[in-house]
């Protein structure tokens, strides 16, 4: 955990540094104006991220994982895939929550295609991530468009998993 956090920070600030140097070679004005632009974005986004990160713990705390796991019942066919997709979209919280629910569902006998559909749906359009992370940074029109266009793909992933019989 700490190791991977360190790697993330190094590669992140390393990229900022490299791009900053490239901008600097274009001229001082370019760096200063880009840095000011980035800092303004940061200041505008912080309140929303604050609300999201500090608030999301409460949202996750009132939606018990057992409810979502129950939706991913064993070998529930296409109806199970559908509930898995809906459950994925409704799952609150960070990566630990989504993957852990998937793992629990597998342990209690959930079908692999259903769990694949759940994980893919959660990665593509978990509402909490859309609202708390994606919309603050990107045009809202793009975010809703992207989420809508993504809807068929958890089903495709489940179909592929059924077809190849893996994992």
């Amino acid at each position: 955990m700490t190791m991977s956090a360190l790697i993330i920070d190094i590669s992140l600030w390393g990229s900022v540094l490299v791009l900053g140097i490239i901008a600097f070679r274009r001229g001082r004005v370019v760096v200063v104006s880009a840095a000011r632009e980035g800092a303004m974005d940061f200041i505008n986004i912080v309140p929303r991220i604050a609300l999201g990160v500090i608030g999301s713990g409460y949202i996750a705390a009132v939606i018990p994982p057992e409810i979502i796991t129950g939706w991913l019942g064993p070998d529930s066919g296409w109806l199970g895939v559908l509930t898995a997709v809906i459950a994925g979209g409704l799952t609150p919280g960070g990566p630990v929550v989504g993957f852990s629910i998937g793992a629990v569902a597998l342990k209690v006998g959930g079908g692999s295609p259903q769990v694949i559909a759940y994980v893919v749906a959660w990665a593509l359009f978990a509402f909490q991530r859309l609202i708390l992370w994606e919309i603050p940074f990107m045009p809202a029109k793009f975010v809703w468009f992207r989420a809508a266009v993504s809807v068929p793909f958890p089903f495709l992933a489940a179909a592929l998993a059924m077809a190849i019989g893996k994992p």
């Binding site: 955990m1 990229s15 500090i54 608030g55 409460y58 009132v62 994606e134 266009v149």
Partner: protein, 168 residues
């Protein structure tokens, strides 16, 4: 924003009624800690986005990632999303920067979807330890075609929704 604020307030009240003040404070300290940890990365992501907007030549980006970039544009978006370091604090500002400098919805969708589905960051840090190697690898293999298909579907729908180009 208001919707989320209300949702958070309602959830916090429910936690308070269930677990008392201790429960509310425990979540608050945990999340404040997380927030402090994320904050510098959000700054880095914003700077990254701003530098990319400034540096990337607009004509070149709209040629290789614009509406007429074809399959190649979608593949570039997918590759870019797969190798992008960091979490949501980098992916979204960088995607927003790409839109600004001339990438179309299709290529940007390919990038964002590729980052969530085949980006190595989350898979290595979270999915592998929690769901195991077998599941994670097959999940990624199954996901491989999705970014390009989602980008293509995005383009297909976009030109039909806005035949005269993006409304302002």
């Amino acid at each position: 924003m208001i919707f989320i604020a209300v949702l958070v307030a309602v959830s916090a009240t429910l936690v308070y009624r269930r677990d008392g003040l201790d429960g509310v404070l425990k979540i608050l300290t945990h999340d404040l800690w997380l927030f402090g940890e994320i904050l510098p990365r959000v700054l880095a992501g914003c700077l990254l986005g701003a530098f990319i907007t400034e540096i990337l030549p607009h004509e070149k980006v709209s040629r290789s990632l614009g509406p007429n970039s074809g399959l190649k544009g979608l593949l570039i978006g997918t590759a870019f999303g797969a190798i992008l370091p960091g979490g949501p604090f980098t992916a979204y500002p960088v995607a927003a920067a790409l839109l600004t400098v001339g990438a179309d919805f299709g290529a940007t969708i390919a990038m964002v979807v590729s980052w969530t589905l085949i980006g190595y960051g989350r898979a290595v840090a979270w999915e592998l330890p929690i769901l195991g190697t077998d599941f994670t690898l097959w999940r990624i293999v199954i996901s491989l075609p999705i970014p390009v298909l989602a980008g293509a579907l995005g383009r297909f729908v976009y030109v039909r929704m806005y035949p005269k180009g993006e409304p302002s």
